[in-house]
């Protein structure tokens, strides 16, 4: 379970946009529903590799806690990345993006990477929000944009991994203070010094890989 970095993500967006399904799809690829079985989960973790380094993603779904201001507040602050999800078949979920984004910007640390996700891209026939609209919104607010389908797994990997890449780049640029765990980034056990990072990360990654097969 050794990793170079641990990134904490949150998933935000209206209810029913498929947040927990995205999460499960990413952390547990096996659940690719061949038939109508929507299945999700509120928490998941998965290891990915970026730049030869093992990076663990911990994803927390904030669903069901909107009633409590203290909870949403804290969630935002503790995350390094956020997936802001809307449902391309429901216009109102797109319309609420501004509110979500305002909330996120207000409570999160300014470095948090936010990715805009238009989910349910498999339901092309019922589409209400054009892809261009999503792109325009993302451009306007400086977000990365992607349309995904938790059902077919299209772009799900990319969504999470691209976000991680962006966070990773920010770390390399020194934007994130990685020693401050309040940012939602944690350095792995073997990653104590910045200098020893590369060797340690790669070695541990290899070991972990061996352990699993």
């Amino acid at each position: 379970m050794a990793y170079a970095y641990l990134f904490k993500y949150i998933i935000i967006g209206d209810t029913g946009v498929g947040k927990s399904c995205l999460l499960l799809q990413f952390t547990d690829k096996r659940f690719q529903p061949v038939h109508d079985l929507t299945i999700g989960v509120e928490f998941g973790a998965r290891m990915i590799t970026i730049d030869g380094k093992q990076i663990k993603l911990q994803i927390w779904d904030t669903a069901g806690q909107e009633a409590f201001r203290s909870i949403t507040r804290s969630y935002y602050r503790g995350a390094a990345g956020a997936l802001l999800v809307y449902d391309i078949t429901r216009r109102e979920t797109f319309n609420h993006l501004t509110t979500w984004l305002e909330d996120a910007r207000q409570h999160s640390n300014s470095n948090m990477v936010i990715m805009l996700i238009g989910n349910k891209s498999d339901l092309e026939s019922r589409r209400e929000v054009k892809k261009e609209e999503g792109e325009a919104f993302a451009r306007e607010h400086g977000l990365v944009f992607m349309e995904t389908s938790a059902k077919t797994a299209a772009n799900v990997e990319e969504a999470f991994i691209n976000t991680a890449k962006e966070i990773y780049e920010k770390i390399q640029e020194g934007v994130f203070d990685i020693n401050n765990e309040a940012n939602g980034i944690k350095i792995g056990p073997q990653h104590s010094t910045a200098g020893g990072a590369k060797a340690g990360g790669a070695g541990a990654g290899g070991a972990a890989g061996g352990g699993c097969c």
């Binding site: 547990d28 299945i39 973790a45 909870i71 203070d177 309040a182 699993c212």
Partner: protein, 1071 residues
């Protein structure tokens, strides 16, 4: 990560259909065969667990027989068995197991399925299983599991988790053990879970929470908040150079999280819980740490303190007595009063406290976030009212209603809970001890308490010693006020608790109710005694200090130590560091809806009479000396005087008052001046008007013909309207906790720091003027009519058809960056540039395609092609859009028929721009009462240049051949064009970016056209300062920053009045 790879696609002889009963049977078989987890089979097990989850969800939605089989085979017990094995890689299996459960509980929709899953108590066994929580991954999945379960709680499901008979609620008690986990996400999950639990309004469960867990949980929570505060304080104290802003940010955010969490609990409105929480918060944190810290600063740093020795003592007495009242430790009172002070001073260092700045800041946050009446009212009461003479019946009443519902249970002190939460909970679940409030720690207690600390530690001993009644109640139930409730509870419930009677709350409750009564009796008696003692004390103090009235008033406030600290903090002579927090606190306190208005009258009720005021507000430093009137506990006048002092300081050029301080001061001034009556007195109005004049004079210093001033002025207004002060957001910003700084490189917003450089000083002056002016207008009930700066005429609507017969129209081709090309006609009037397209229906009419403001127009010549101009056209600022930043409508290259047309267009536009700006500058001049512009003269002078809907008037007034020439034609002059150009050019070179005009004019002159002569003149103008216009202006000291005052009349006359024209022309002709 293992899961996702290793078993993907691995096939072994299993039923084809992954979602079927057969498949589940097959998986069950696997579980049966692999009861022991080993290196070799853990992969199979994990895979099976995942499949099981999937099938169960499928079954839940499609085939109930799946669930039947799952229950029949009691498959959850396999889960447990696997979990309990300690072997290599068990965490790996555990994680999957927990995730399977998460998936199960998260996705099950069928109520019955859920009940089945929960029915045999296996879930509770899983909850209490000792997972390896040191493993980060296990911990995360475990806490998510608990959280997921908590989201399933409702009035029915609660009974699966909370066992009323065994008084067992593992889901809750296991979770709260992690309330202070180092991992933030875990802490959040715990908070979510607790809130989800509380909101299931199940009476029995809530009773359990209150009786068994509330005290230990809340006392620990409060203790850790306090520790956090001390850390924050240390961070502020040790950081003069803004080094640890990031850390400070986190600490402040963490404190806000705590407060929001507490507020979320309080907002659930569960009376019993709220009582306990309120009590702990007040007695263990807010009063001993936050409020006491207000005065502790004065003790620790006597040199900087305005208090003399006597006052220190009186503060200590107050603190002591306040504590006595709050904790109800009446029996201790007499001995304590004999030797309180000496003891205190020696122990003062031991008492944890934070700096005054931090405590003001934190209290502001409390009042901004928490609205629960009992807490905020008690706090406000203590801050505003507590003084030496408060110990009468009224005070007691307030405290009894608001504070001491169970008053003696929690000692007033910030101290570590004696038992860790986990221990306390263990005790509670073992039923071998009542763990209510184990917080007495002898070491940190005050002197007189230490004597009893041994008793405190031994509940049985205490409960037997009748004299110290408070101790009895402390060891017994937490909530005395609900003793009846408990009695009935005893009758209804009973059994298991009974065995543990000795110190459990229930059996004692009968005794308690009587003892609490005697206790309150005792309280009353001793308080009277106390009061007498105190009165005598105050009397002696008063007799010492009746020198003059001012001293008396100061004495008044001196008797209110906390309020005095706050009001004293408003002194901004050195800086506004402390003052900002004091203002925030006052603002938050006054605006908190949980604080009663009677209490606020102390601050807000003004003393009726204006005539009795001997002095007007003193304008300078000698504030606070303003007369303060009869009703001793009214401080409105003092408050207003202090606020006025800040406002006056902020109107000084080199003031150390930040804009944010000024803004919040203005807000408070409005509230304080309007008082409880809602109408400011004449005295206040004149003071506000005076203040406005000062602010105007401050801004006047920067009023100059700099083009940028107008833009700055409008921008600042727009900024102010767009982002009105939000005190709650302000108090989220840790940056203000550090001493005020100037440099923008600190990353601190302009409003929250001091201006750096001339430009920012101008901005500050302008903004201060807006704020003060707004205050004045609001107080006097006047409408704002002059801001935002109005345009003289309305803008033409895009799409409107205009009669352009006989108008000056210049044909042009417009090419944008992206290559789009259009042909339009350009028309210009006083304030706007209009691009029109011929109307197809009516000859001579045109449709407005684009309307932009002349004021913001940017004009640049083209270096290559003299026929071209580059224009950037901005959206007009009208009405509500007047307060939004300017937006670019069009940025394009305008190509005219020839260079003459291009010149004409350029001149017309440039002149229009200058004129439009001058008009606005005059408006500003009037606002700022710049001498010479005071008369509202423009209105009569301004002729409606643009009669609508027809644009026919444009022809007379717009541009070089319109406005200018038109009038000139009337004059007997042969040099119309030349003259016009010259007059116009000189203004251009002065007021506009010189490079622009230089570049273009040079270009054009090379063409050797008819225009050459005037352009030559311009060049001469710029090279020889002795040309008419500039020579005129040389009378003022600086040419670059000419005060508008001197220039504007000349502009006006050059345009409008006929007399100056010949004179000027004459001079020109001599060149």
């Amino acid at each position: 990560m293992f899961r996702s790879r290793s078993w993907f696609g691995g096939g072994w002889g299993r039923p084809k259909n992954p979602h079927s009963l057969e498949r589940l049977k097959y998986l069950h078989n696997i579980l049966c065969k692999n009861t022991t987890v080993s290196e070799s089979n853990r992969g199979i097990l994990v895979e099976s667990l995942r499949c099981i989850a999937e099938i169960l969800i499928w079954g839940d939605q499609n085939d109930s027989s799946v669930f039947d089989f799952f229950l029949e085979k009691n498959m959850l017990s396999y889960f447990l068995r696997i979990m309990r094995q300690k072997c290599g890689g068990s965490s790996y299996v555990c994680v999957q197991l927990l995730q399977t459960l998460n998936i199960l509980f998260e996705n099950i929709r069928n109520e019955t399925s859920l009940y089945y899953l929960l029915s045999n108590n296996h879930v509770n066994s899983i909850i209490v299983h000792k997972f390896d929580v040191s493993d980060e991954e296990v911990m995360a999945y475990y806490i998510s599991f608990l959280k997921t379960l908590s989201l399933k709680l409702n009035n029915h499901t609660i009974h699966f988790f909370y066992n009323e008979h065994t008084k067992d609620f593992p889901l809750y008690t296991e979770a709260i053990k992690f309330f202070n986990h180092p991992e933030s996400m875990v802490r959040i999950a715990v908070r979510t879970l607790t809130l989800n639990v509380y909101r299931v309004q199940d009476a029995s469960m809530l009773r359990f929470i209150r009786d068994r867990t509330a005290a230990p949980y809340f006392s620990n929570l409060v203790w850790f908040i306090g520790k956090h505060i001390l850390e924050l304080d240390a961070c502020v104290r040790n950081d003069a150079d803004h080094q640890s802003q990031q850390k400070l940010d986190d600490l402040v955010a963490e404190h806000l999280d705590h407060l929001h969490y507490i507020n979320d609990i309080l907002c659930l409105n569960i009376p019993d819980l709220n009582d306990v929480l309120t009590e702990h918060l007040l007695h263990k944190l807010l009063i001993p740490l936050y409020i006491y810290s207000l005065t502790s600063g004065s003790i620790k740093r006597p040199t900087s303190s305005p208090y003399n020795r006597d006052h220190i003592q009186s503060i200590e007495v107050i603190t002591r007595n306040l504590e006595a009242i709050l904790s109800g430790r009446s029996s201790d009172t007499p001995p304590r009063l004999k030797y309180p002070i000496q003891k205190m001073e020696s122990e003062d260092d031991l008492k944890p406290s934070v700096s005054c700045v931090v405590s003001l800041f934190l209290l502001s946050q409390v009042f901004l976030i928490i609205t629960h009446g009992p807490i905020v009212h008690a706090l406000a009461w203590i801050i505003i009212q507590s003084d030496i003479s408060i110990f009468d019946e009224g005070a007691m009443n307030i405290l009894e209603t608001y504070v001491s519902t169970a008053k003696s249970n929690v000692k007033l002190e910030f101290a570590k809970p004696q038992l860790s939460l986990e221990k306390a909970l263990e005790c509670s679940t073992c039923h071998d001890r009542d763990y209510t409030t184990p917080e007495y720690s002898g070491a940190k207690a005050f002197g007189y308490d230490t004597d009893h600390s041994s008793c405190d530690l031994d509940p049985e001993l205490v409960s037997n010693s009748l004299p110290s009644t408070s101790h009895i109640s402390e060891t017994s139930s937490i909530a005395h006020d609900s003793t009846e409730d408990l009695v009935t509870q005893v009758q209804s419930i009973k059994s298991p608790v009974k065995e543990n009677m000795p110190d459990s709350p229930l059996p004692d409750s009968g005794i308690d109710s009587t003892s609490s009564k005697t206790m309150s009796d005792l309280n009353n008696i001793t308080d009277e005694e106390k009061q007498q003692l105190l009165v005598s004390l105050t009397n002696t103090e008063k007799s010492l200090t009746l020198e003059n009235i001012i001293d008396k008033e100061r004495r008044d406030i001196d008797n209110k130590p906390f309020l005095k600290t706050i009001l004293d903090s408003l002194d901004c002579n050195e800086d506004d560091y402390k003052a900002l927090f004091a203002l925030c606190l006052l603002y938050a306190l006054i605006n908190n809806k949980g604080v009663s208005s009677e209490l606020l009258d102390t601050l807000l009720k003004s003393e009726l009479d204006d005539s009795e005021k001997v002095t007007k507000e003193s304008r300078d430093e000698n504030v606070g000396q303003e007369h303060q009137t009869k009703p001793k506990d009214h401080f409105n006048a003092l408050l207003v005087a202090k606020l006025m002092a800040i406002a006056h300081l902020s109107c000084k050029p080199a003031s150390k008052v930040r804009l944010v301080t000024c803004e919040i001061t203005a807000r408070l001034l409005k509230i304080a001046m309007e008082g409880s009556s809602g109408v400011p007195s004449a005295r206040h109005l004149s003071a506000a008007d005076n203040l406005r004049a000062r602010a105007a004079s401050l801004a006047r210093n920067f009023y100059k013909c700099d083009d940028i001033f107008l833009d700055m002025f409008e921008d600042e207004y727009c900024e102010m309207c767009k982002r009105p002060l939000n005190v709650e957001w302000l108090c989220m910003d840790a940056a203000i906790l550090l001493p005020p700084t100037k440099t923008p490189m600190s990353g601190i917003a302009f409003e929250k720091r001091l201006p750096s450089g001339e430009m920012e000083r101008a901005r500050r002056a302008i903004r201060t003027f807006f704020l003060i002016r707004e205050l004045y207008l609001k107080l006097s009930g006047k409408q704002e009519t002059q801001l935002p700066l109005a345009n003289h005429a309305p803008f033409v609507q895009v799409g409107k058809t205009l009669d352009l017969n006989d108008s000056d129209l210049i044909s042009c081709d417009i090419t944008q960056k992206d290559g789009t090309w259009q042909h339009r006609f350009l028309a210009v009037d006083n304030i706007q540039i209009i691009l029109v397209e011929p109307d197809k229906q009516k000859l001579g009419w045109g449709v407005a395609k684009l309307v932009g403001s002349l004021q913001d127009l940017e004009i640049t010549g083209d270096k290559e092609d003299p026929r071209c101009l580059h224009l950037t056209i901005h959206k007009p600022r009208v009405g509500s859009t007047g307060v939004s930043p300017r937006t670019v409508l069009l940025r394009a290259k305008f190509k005219f028929d020839d260079h003459i047309r291009s010149m004409a267009a350029k001149q017309r536009l440039t002149k229009g721009r200058t004129k439009a700006r001058q008009k606005k500058m005059q408006q500003i001049g009037r606002l700022l009462e710049v001498s010479g512009i005071s008369a509202p003269a423009v209105a009569p002078r301004h002729r409606p240049l643009f009669a609508r809907p027809s644009l026919s008037t444009v022809r007379r007034h717009s541009g070089i051949d319109g406005d200018e020439t038109d009038r000139r034609i009337r004059r007997p002059s042969g040099h119309v064009l030349k003259d016009g150009v010259i007059v116009y050019r000189e203004r251009t070179t002065m007021s506009r970016d010189s490079s622009v005009s230089r570049g273009s004019s040079g270009k054009v002159s090379r063409e050797g056209s008819q225009e050459e002569i005037p352009l030559e003149d311009i060049r001469r103008n710029s090279s020889h300062p002795a040309t008419p216009s500039t020579s005129r202006q040389q009378s003022t000291p600086s040419t670059s920053q000419l005060p508008k005052v001197s220039r504007t009349p000349s502009e006006e006359t050059s345009f409008i009045s006929g007399e100056s024209r010949p004179k000027r022309k004459g001079i020109i002709e001599t060149i």
